[in-house]
Symmetry: C2
Subunit: 493 residues, 2 copies
C-alpha cells in the first residue's frame, strides 16, 4: 500500500516508530507495535507502528514519520512511500523464552543485542528483556554471552600486544578520580593501558570530563591507536568508538525503577574492557552507606562472579573492596579533580587519600602482570616525577598543553564557602549530597563548577572553619546550588 | 526554573511526557523519565521527561510539550511555564516489590491502577508491572484486588436490582455471536442483562460492531439506564462508559509479546462484569487448536479460578468448556453476523450450530438463577417468537429500525466465492485464516465486509461447490483479501 509521509519534527534516537491512522491499521490487520517495512526507491527500513486515533495528526492514507526515519530514507513530505507488512523480530521469541524462565543460548542473546542496537525493539519489548533478566537471574554463562554480544556488536580497538591492563571502579563515589594517576604510573613503567571512559550523565564528573580540562578527549579510532602507540596509554572518551552502545541502551531502561540486574552490571563493565582487548583488569568496589554497593557481603559475592566471568572471557581479574564511606580526594567536579591530580603527579600538596589509593591500585596492577613489590615500584615512579612526565606526554599527544599548572586551571568565579557552626569532629560526610551540590552548581557541563572539601572524616574542626566551598560559573547556578540543605553535607559531633 | 514552551504537534494519549534539552537535564540533576511539575497559573501537571540531545528540537531553556499536555494546561508557545522537580510516583515502589516476588496488598494494587489510568506511569514503568505479574504470577487475592481496582477507578452502571445476569465468551473464535440471541431470550423471560461490549480491534467483529448493523450502540450512561429499564436489556458499546479502561491500557502492553498474564485475564473479564453490577455470570471457554485456549486442562484450571475469584468478588460464576474447533455460525463480519442472528430469532433458516449454542447458554443462565429445565424454557422463548419481539424492542429503544429484515442488511458489493477443487469431506477449518480474511476484506470497519462459510466441518463436498464467499465494500479491499492463501482456509480429505 502507498502512503503519503507526514514528517513529525521529533527525533527519537531510540526505537524506530511510524504512525498510522486507526483506519489503516485495521485495514492492514495490524496492532500497535506491529512491524511494517517502509520503502522509498531502493531504501527500506523496518519500523514499529503506533496508532493515531484522530485525524488531527495522521489521517488515513498518511504515515507519520519521526525525523530519524525520514532522514535516513531521505523522505520528503511530497514523496509517496510503499508500506508492506513485516513479521516481528525473531529476538522477541527469545525475550519471551527468558520471561518463561528458560536459559538463553549464545546465539539468542546475540540476536537480542543486535536487534536492540539496530533500534528494532520497541521500548516495551526491550523492557521485557530487562525485567526477565532481573527476575529470572542470568547465569554466569548468559552473562558471558551478553558480554560477548555487546562487544561483538559494538566498535572495538585491537592492539596486538599483551598484557593490556585496565582498571575499573564501581561508580557512585564522589571524587575518586584515581584513573589519571594510575594510568600515568602504569604507562610510565612500560605497560599498555588504553583507557576509554564515559562522560558523566548522573555524576558531577567522569574521567573524560576531568581529563578534558587538561586535553581534548574526543578522538577518532585511528588517532587513539596512535596516541597509545606513542605513550602506551590514552585517556579518551569512549563515545566516538561506540564501545558497548547496547549496554547504554539497557542502562536507560533500568533507570526508571533503579534496577541493576547483576548479569547486566557484570557484562556492562567487562564488555568495555574486552572492547579494548584488556587482559588484566583491576576492579575496585568501594563500599559505604551512600556508595553503590553497601554491604561487604554483596561486594564479596560480586567479586567472585567477576573473577569467574573473567575466566570465561579469558581475562585475568583482581577485585579489591575499598572504603567508600566518603569522597576520595578533595575536589569534586572536572576542574577541581584535575587540579588534585596534577598536584599529586607533581608531588606537591595533593590530597593524600587519593594519592595513596592510586598508588596502591597501580601497585596491584604491577603485581598482576608479575612485577614484585608493586606498591614500592608505583610510589617510586610517582615520586621520581616519571608519572608526571608520562602524563605530560599523554596530554601533549591528545592535543593539550603539557605545561599546564594546577594554578592555571580555572575554577568557577562564583565560590561560596560553608563554615562550621560548631566545633567537634567530622563524623559523617554525605556522598550523595556532595554529588548533588556539585551537579546543581553546574558540573560536569561547566568544567569549573563543583565542590571542594576542606576537611575529611574524623578531622577536628573549630567554629567558623571552612568545611567546603562550592564553585559555580554563574550567579544563577550558585543560587540554585545554595538551595540544597548545606547543613546536612557534613555531620560534626 | 522558567521555560519557554515549544508545542509539538503530536498527542500521545498515553504517558505524559515533556522534553528538555540535555543541558537543562544535567543542571536540574535529572535523568530520563524523572518527573517534573509544569505550572501555568493555577494549573499544574506532573510529567515524565525525555531528553533532547540536539538543539534542533528543543533548545536549552525550552520545554517540548506534546499536544495533550499543552491543551490541558492551556499553554501557548509565547507563554512561560514554571518547572519544578517532583518525586517519582509511589506506585513505582510497588511495581518494584512485585518484581522482587512479593505479594501486593489491595492498597498497593489500587495505587498502581490509579497512576496507570492517570497516565502517571511511563510505558517502561507500566511494562515492568506486566512483566512482574507475568513471571511472578498473581495470587487469586491479587487478582481480586486488581479487579476491584479496575472497577473502582473506572466508570460503572449501578442497577438496584438482583439478579443481574451476564455472559462472556473467551474470545478468538470467528463468528460465535451468541450474545444478541442469548440477551433476547433471557430478557424476554424478565431477567435483567445489561450487556456492554467492546468494539473489535483485533477480530473481524465484536458484539458492538454486529449490533451496530441493527441499531446505534453508542449511548450515554443515562440513556443506557433508560433502555435497560424499558427492555431489561441493552447491547451497547462500553467505550462511552469508560468501564475498565485501566484494563485496556494493560492489554496494549501485553500485545507485543502476546503475554496474557492469567491474573490480568481473570481481572479483565470480571471487572467489566462487576462494573455493571452482574451477580450471575456464565463464562464460555471454547477450546481448539486455533482458539485462544488450546487445551482442556488449561480450560479446566481457568474455570476453577474464575469460580474461586467470583466468590471473592461476590459473583456467582458458571463456566462451560465448548467446542472451538471451527467458527460458530456461518457469517463472520458485522453484517453477515447480524443476518445470521435475525434469521435465528425469526425462526428461519439460520445456522443451527449458533442457534443451539445460544439456546444452551441461555438455558444455563436460567438454571443459574433457579429456573428449572432451562434449555426447554430458552427454546420455547426463541421458537415462540418472544425472543425476536424482545430484540425488536431493544433495537427500537436503541434507535434502530425494529422491522429490519435479514434481506435488507447490506453486504459488501464485491463478493468472491471460493469453490472446492476436489471432492471429499471438510476435515479442517482455519479459524485464524478466516479471521484474517474477513479483516483484510475490511471488517469490522466496513460493516458489509466479511466471510460467509457455506459449509462447516465434516460436510461432504463436491468439486466446484462453493466453500466460502468473501465480501468487500471496495475492489481494492477485495484484491487485498485475495492475496491471502485461500487454499488453506479449509482442508478437504
Amino acid at each position: 500500500m502507498k502512503f503519503k509521509p507526514k514528517i513529525l519534527q521529533i527525533a527519537t534516537k531510540g526505537p524506530l516508530i511510524a504512525i498510522l491512522n486507526k483506519i489503516d491499521v485495521q485495514l492492514l490487520n495490524l496492532s500497535a507495535l506491529d512491524r511494517i517495512k517502509i520503502k522509498k526507491k531502493e531504501k527500506r527500513k523496518v519500523v514499529a507502528i503506533d496508532i493515531a486515533y484522530g485525524k488531527k495528526e495522521v489521517s488515513p492514507g498518511e504515515i507519520g514519520l519521526f525525523l530519524d526515519v525520514a532522514e535516513e530514507l531521505n523522505i520528503k513530505e511530497d514523496d509517496e512511500v510503499e508500506v508492506s507488512l513485516e513479521s516481528k523480530p525473531e529476538s522477541l521469541q527469545y525475550i519471551k523464552k527468558k520471561l518463561d524462565k528458560k536459559e538463553l543460548s549464545k546465539i539468542e542473546i546475540d540476536k537480542i543485542i543486535k536487534d536492540l542496537l539496530a533500534n528494532k525493539l520497541t521500548e516495551i519489548e526491550a523492557t521485557y528483556f530487562v525485567a526477565a533478566c532481573y527476575i529470572n537471574k542470568m547465569s554466569l554463562d548468559e552473562s558471558a554471552y551478553l558480554t560477548e554480544a555487546i562487544v561483538k556488536n559494538s566498535g572495538r580497538l585491537k592492539f596486538n600486544k599483551k598484557p593490556i591492563v585496565d582498571k575499573h571502579s564501581i561508580g557512585g563515589l564522589a571524587g575518586n578520580r584515581t584513573t589519571p594517576i594510575i594510568v600515568s604510573i602504569v604507562a610510565a613503567a612500560g605497560l599498555t593501558i588504553p583507557k576509554t571512559s564515559t562522560r558523566s550523565i548522573t555524576s558531577p564528573s567522569g574521567t573524560s570530563d576531568t581529563m578534558e580540562v587538561l586535553a581534548p578527549v574526543s578522538h577518532s579510532k585511528e588517532k587513539i591507536m596512535e596516541i597509545v602507540k606513542k605513550t602506551n596509554a590514552c585517556m579518551v572518551w569512549g563515545g566516538t568508538l561506540d564501545l558497548a552502545s547496547a549496554d547504554d541502551k539497557l542502562i536507560q531502561l533500568e533507570k526508571p525503577l533503579s534496577l541493576d540486574p547483576e548479569g547486566f552490571l557484570l557484562a556492562s563493565i567487562l564488555a568495555k574492557k574486552s572492547a579494548v582487548d584488556s587482559s588484566h583488569i583491576l576492579i575496585d568496589i568501594p563500599i559505604g552507606r551512600e556508595a553503590k554497593i553497601e554491604s561487604k557481603k554483596r561486594a564479596k559475592d560480586l567479586a567472585k562472579k567477576f573473577i569467574t566471568l573473567g575466566k570465561k572471557l579469558n581475562m585475568k581479574i583482581k577485585v579489591i573492596i575499598t572504603d567508600g564511606s566518603q569522597p576520595i580526594g578533595n575536589g569534586v567536579g572536572p576542574a577541581l579533580e584535575a587540579k588534585d591530580i596534577l598536584l599529586i603527579l607533581q608531588n606537591r600538596n595533593g590530597p593524600e587519600d587519593l594519592k595513596k589509593k592510586a598508588v596502591y591500585m597501580a601497585g596491584l596492577i604491577f603485581e598482576m602482570v608479575g612485577y614484585k613489590n608493586g606498591y614500592k615500584k608505583a610510589l617510586e615512579i610517582l615520586e621520581s616525577g616519571k608519572a608526571y612526565k608520562k602524563m605530560q606526554e599523554i596530554i601533549k599527544e591528545q592535543g593539550g598543553n603539557p605545561n599546564i599548572q594546577p594554578e592555571n586551571i580555572k575554577l568557577g568565579i562564583y565560590p561560596y564557602t560553608f563554615r562550621s557552626r560548631t566545633s567537634g569532629k567530622i563524623s559523617y560526610i554525605s556522598n550523595k549530597l556532595i554529588t548533588k551540590l556539585a551537579k546543581s552548581a553546574g558540573a560536569p557541563n561547566n568544567k569549573g563548577a563543583g565542590v571542594y572539601l576542606h576537611k575529611k572524616l574524623n578531622t577536628k574542626i573549630n567554629v567558623n572553619e571552612p568545611l567546603f566551598t562550592i564553585y559555580a560559573e554563574s550567579k544563577d547556578k550558585l543560587t540554585f546550588a545554595l538551595k540544597e540543605n548545606l547543613n546536612n553535607v557534613m555531620k560534626i559531633s
